[in-house]
Amino acid sequence: MTTPLAGYLLVAALLFAIGLAGALVRRNAILVLIGIELMLNAANLNLIAFWRYGPHPERLTGMMFAIFSIAVAAAEAAVGLGLVIAIHRHTNTTDLDKMNRMKG
C-alpha cells in the first residue's frame, strides 16, 4: 500500500532535478534564477507534504517553515534580478559564459 506522501515527494524530487538542470545548463542568468526558484519551490512542496502527513500537524511547524521559505525566496528573487540588471548595465550581456571578470 503506497501513501500519497510518496507521490508528492517524487514530484518534488523531479521538480528539484528539473530546476537544477535549468540552473546548470542554461546560459542566461535570468533562466538560472528561474531554475533556482523551481528548486526552492520543490523544497517547499516537500515541507508542506511532510506537514500534511507527518505527526503533529497541529503544531504547524512545516507550514511555518514553508511560509518563511517563500518570504526568503521573494527576497532572493528581488536581489538576484537586481544584480542581473546591474551586470547587464555594466557589461551589456546576461550570458553567464561571457561573465568571466570580477573587475568591471
Partner: protein
Amino acid sequence: MSPIFYILAAVTLGGGLAAVLLRQLVHAALAATVAFAGLALLYLQLDAQFVGFAQVLVYIGAVAILIVFAILLTRGSEVPKDGVFSRTWAVGLVVAAAVFAVLGWAVLASLRALPLAEAAPAATVHEIGVALVGRYVLPLEIVGLLLTAATVGAVIVALHEKERPKQ
C-alpha cells in the same frame, strides 16, 4: 492517489520542463508561472490553503512579474544566435540526473516507513496568525527585516551609477 493529483503533477512538471527548455525567455517565464500555479494547486490539494494563496500572491503576483521586467530590461527577449545552452550542458544534465536518482531512491527505499494518509489537519488562518505572533514571532520579525533590507539592497544595486571622475 486521486486523478487530480496526477493532473496537477503533470501541469507542474510540464511547466517546469518547458521553463528550462524553451529558447524564448518570455515563453520560459510564462512556463515557470504555470509551474508556480500548479504548485499552488498542489498546496490546496494538501489542505494548506494559506500557503497556496501565499504562493499565488508571492510567486505569480510578484516574482513572475519581476522576472518579466528583468527580461525586458535586459533585452533578453532576443534569442542568442550561438545557442541557449551552456558549453558544459552535458555535465549539468548528468549532475541533475544523479541528484534525481539519489532523491528518488531515498523516497522509494523508505516507502514502507512513510506515514499513511490521515484525516485532514485543520489549519485555519486564525491559528496560523496566532502561531506567527506567538511561537514564531522572532522569525517573523527577522523575515520582515530581511525583506526590508533586500528591497533596499535590490534598489541600490539596480540603481543607475553616477559617472565618477577617474583618479
